[in-house]
Amino acid sequence: MATGRTARWYVLWALASLSLAGVLGDRLLDKTADRTVFLPGPMTHGHHSIELACGACHVEPFGGGPVLQEACMNCHGAELKRVDDSHPKSKFTDPRNADRVARLDAQHCVTCHVEHRLEITGPMGVTLPGDFCVTCHAKIGEERETHAGLGFDTCASGGCHNFHDNRALYEDFLLEHVGEPVLRPVPRLPARDFGSRWRTDHPKPPAIVPGHAGPAVVVKDWLETAHARAGVQCDDCHAAGNKPWSDALDHRACAGCHETQVEGFLASKHGMRLPQNLPPMTPALARLPMQTDAAPRELGCTSCHAAHRFDTRHAAAEACLGCHADSHSLAYKDSKHFGLWTAELAGDAPAETGLSCAGCHLPREREDTGDERRVHVAHNQNDFLRPNEKMIRPVCLHCHGLGFALDALADTDLVESNFQRLPAIHIESIDMALRRAEADRARRAGEIPTGRSH
């Protein structure tokens, strides 16, 4: 009797397991199903909006470290190359660093950036204890007098060092910018040149076709845009490539002419859900504070560049403030930056002297493609956001001296208040570089005994 009852329990257990496996398996294979149940933990701020696209990182069902690494590099590799990553993988594959790799395997992104572990995730998505620099640089205090006695937690504190991007922090760069004023004599952003390049390439734009059908307001808006002046007609967007007319356009319609901007958008927090075949990002999905009424707004090109005006000035500030409601954003209209922006919009100040949200967060990038040099608006704000020293070169230095920028970005309260006062703290990077340069000069002049070996 007992054996029969046990057998029935086994059958029941097997059936229950199979049923559960069936339900879960179906949900796993159905890309439209809610896969939240499979998340082993909440994801980082960088990835949470694509957390249900498991395949974005787990590109193979049973892929291990190398497969994950490939996924990381698929999205972040180009940026690491662009910023001259200070710690590329190749630095750690050298066998001479095998002892270091045994202590900290910096060959793989996930060594420092573990996903699904939000409870141990710190700034920049780092999941290691804060003393990881010591693994390789424990003797820096002995090698550099300026670094003697500095705590392990000061390496990456504002304005000193970053693990990846140090383009605005290396010693000779600091020295090159010694003594710069808070504000440059002519503070001004680089001018965008998409329009001028277009006009050069298309000296005789097609004539505007009169009598366009469609709502008068749409035609009026379009007639007032650079699109109309450049001869971009309705069909060029709504029936591009001789396809049937469509009213429902998305970023693909814009990419025909604005490929670089669309690429950036699709890599950004605003657009990164789209390449994963997820519905568009909405403020409701964001973790940052957002305006309540904006919650259901789906993000695409026209959510900032409203059709058919495509007003870049609206897109540069008011569009941002229509959604973002964090304290930094809310304080913008009380800032000097906003004052400059309104003066430019009113025609009371020269072009490119105002500073909108986009002026900092979607910076004007100078790019040399080999065929041409151009200035375009970077649409992937992730590339310039954190650590915020990444903004120094493409943003701050257009208007401010390096020393001021380092201090300002390190003052978190100042950032929060949108720079409504002078920095309250001072970063010593430039001072240290100066002290070392002076010590070198004195050594060469024979004022200090040389420590040279032979």
Binding site: D84, P88, K89, S90, K91, T93, D94, P95, R96, N97, A98, D99, V101, A102, C136, K139, E143, Y170, D172, F173, R436, A437, D440, R444, T450, G451, R452, S453, H454
Partner: protein, 200 residues
């Protein structure tokens, strides 16, 4: 021994190295491959051949590009911060970039430029073989150093070759750099060494 079939990339590089040797002729020669070595190569032969290519390219870049354009014709300077300053990469950087690219390709060998007087302290010798080898090539001019060592539970054939100051640009740059522990290099001095590692 290195088998061409199991290490095609290395073998290809080695063939190129052999061609390079034939073309240059003046660089320190690697051991010539005899008839019996057509299918298998010793780690030493492979290292010597790789070095022949590296040394030739390095010398060509230093003399024909950097020294000519910077010091002789004064057209463009070479700078550690070549990208910011629209300048030529330094010869040591050129060498390192090549080593990094090789590493990215997962080639079954690695190489680096090191010195007893490094501008960047990370390029000081770390392992016993590196320390001994770099001192050896300084003390025994014209000779190479070979050893076997175990790193990270893997065994390597390690070769160290002297890196000489082949052009005035080498000397002036190192002597003038504030991070250089040695400021009296002269043309022809051994300034460091190329370390090549091959897993065995």
């Amino acid at each position: 021994m290195i088998h061409p079939q199991s290490h095609p990339a290395v073998f290809a590089v080695l063939l190129l190295g052999t061609l390079g040797l034939s073309a240059c002729g003046k660089e320190q020669a690697a051991a010539p491959a005899g008839p019996g070595e057509a299918k298998t190569l010793s780690a030493k032969t492979m290292a010597d051949s790789l070095y022949a290519v590296m040394a030739s390219d390095r010398t060509v870049y230093t003399r024909l590009i950097v020294n000519r354009l910077q010091n002789e014709e004064k057209i463009i300077k070479a700078s550690e911060h070549w990208k910011d300053e629209k300048a030529l990469p330094l010869p040591a950087q050129m060498f390192r970039f090549g080593a990094e690219m090789v590493a990215e390709k997962n080639a079954p060998f690695s190489y680096s430029l090191q010195s007893l007087w490094p501008v960047n302290r990370q390029n000081a010798p770390k392992t016993e073989a590196e320390k001994t080898g770099l001192q050896y090539v300084v003390d025994n001019k014209g000779q190479n150093y070979y050893a076997e060592e175990t790193l990270g539970e893997k065994k390597y054939f390690t070769a160290v070759y002297a890196d000489m100051a082949v052009a005035p640009a080498c000397v002036t740059c190192h002597n003038g750099h504030k991070d250089s522990p040695k400021t009296d290099f002269q043309l022809g001095d051994v300034m460091g060494g190329v370390v090549i590692r091959i897993p065995i």
